[in-house]
């Protein structure tokens, strides 16, 4: 397999992974939203649905960085830093949302009435 084909496949894999991550957290967000509705308790469902967008942005920025459209090395470095920052922020927010939702689930499972 040529270097170029490898790069195309990696880009496809990065974007697909980003989209799947995002879709997975969207589903979590929807489920958490239902719990918010039923139990009238905050689950950060909105955050769970929006935070994974950072993963998508990361994928897009990494694509841009490796594309031939951007010639400047400095700009490329900036794109890479921004991509990783988005990924980190997104991961932190997703974790926060999951912890909040997990706490509610834990409370419900231990609920004695």
């Amino acid at each position: 397999m040529s270097e170029e084909a490898m790069q195309v496949y990696s880009h496809i894999a990065v974007v697909s992974a980003g989209v799947l991550f995002w879709a997975g957290f969207m589903v979590f967000g929807f489920i958490a939203g239902r719990y918010t509705k039923v139990f009238n308790r905050e689950t950060f469902s909105g955050l769970l649905m929006t935070a994974p967008s950072g993963i998508l942005i990361y994928a897009i920025l990494m694509l841009l960085r490796s594309s031939t459209m951007v010639k400047s090395q400095q700009f490329n470095d900036g794109l890479q830093v921004a991509a990783y920052v988005f990924l980190l922020v997104s991961a932190v927010l997703c974790l926060a949302g999951m912890i909040k939702f997990g706490k509610l689930l834990d409370e419900l499972l231990k609920y004695k009435g």
């Binding site: 039923v38 009238n40 419900l108 499972l109 009435g113």
Partner: protein, 260 residues
């Protein structure tokens, strides 16, 4: 026919015999009270008492005293051929209510009617009279008000609590009204929703039920049928959100089944 007083009250049995137009002698023996009531074609025609709690004077009073036989004991009915005797004019419903009044007028007799009234989660409503049937009953204010409060919506516990009548007295009046056949049980009772939900969904199920009570602002001890229906609709929506419609329907059907 033979029965024990733990399974049915003498008053309830006498009313049934009268309403079916039977003829014969109802023999009562509870230890402290012993005697017989003679009915002919569903009408009380005579009564004799060997032992009663209080001195009796006249037929009506004797029947009232014999109906106070609520303790452990037995009764039997000896069926006889109708003799077409002249009815005494004593209304069975009226005499049962009078016997209930005797219970709360004389609390020292420690007559326990708890086992003879329906559980608190049952729902009662006023009985409809069959076409052509007439009854003559004298009501006291509390009796009438309690009778009117049973509208088929709220359960017994709620009606008794809201009646403003002292609990012990209210229960005795209820015993009188049900024994006299003036109230009938609906095929409906408020089930233990949390228990059913917990059995089906674990602790989350109980949490869903409690959340729905809070959302609808219902007091679970004072819930009528309308509130209950609204609550079940809310529960179906909530359970659907968590488990999906199919599972929610199954659980709600179980809750409905528990009302019967």
């Amino acid at each position: 026919m033979h029965g024990t007083m733990s399974s049915i009250s003498v008053a309830g049995m006498l009313r049934l015999l009268c309403s079916f137009g039977r003829s014969g002698e109802l023999l009562i023996d509870s230890g402290r009270i012993k005697g017989k009531i003679v009915i002919d074609s569903g009408n009380i025609v005579s009564a004799t008492a060997e032992r009663t709690l209080f001195k009796t004077s006249g037929l009506r009073d004797t029947v009232v005293q014999l109906l106070l036989a609520l303790e452990e004991g037995s009764f039997s009915f000896i069926e006889l051929a109708p003799r077409n005797e002249k009815p005494s004019g004593i209304g069975i419903e009226d005499v049962i209510l009078e016997s209930a009044r005797e219970i709360w007028k004389n609390p020292g007799n420690s007559v326990n009617i708890r086992d003879l009234i329906f559980p608190e989660d049952e729902v009662l409503r006023t009985t409809r009279l069959a076409a052509g049937r007439e009854i003559t009953v004298s009501f006291q204010a509390d009796e009438w008000n309690l009778l009117a409060a049973f509208n088929g919506d709220s359960d017994i516990g709620t009606v008794l609590e809201d009646s403003g009548i002292e609990r012990g007295k209210a229960e005795i009046i209820l015993y009188g009204l049900t024994s006299a056949g003036l109230l009938r049980r609906l095929r409906f009772k408020i089930p233990e929703l949390s228990k059913i939900a917990r059995e089906e969904l674990g602790n989350i199920g109980a949490a869903i039920v409690d959340s729905e009570f809070i959302r609808q602002k219902f007091d679970r001890k004072k819930m009528g049928m309308k509130n209950f229906v609204s609550l079940l609709n809310g529960l179906e929506a909530s359970i659907s959100e968590i488990t999906g419609r199919t599972r929610a329907k199954v659980i709600i059907e179980k809750m409905w089944a528990a009302t019967k």
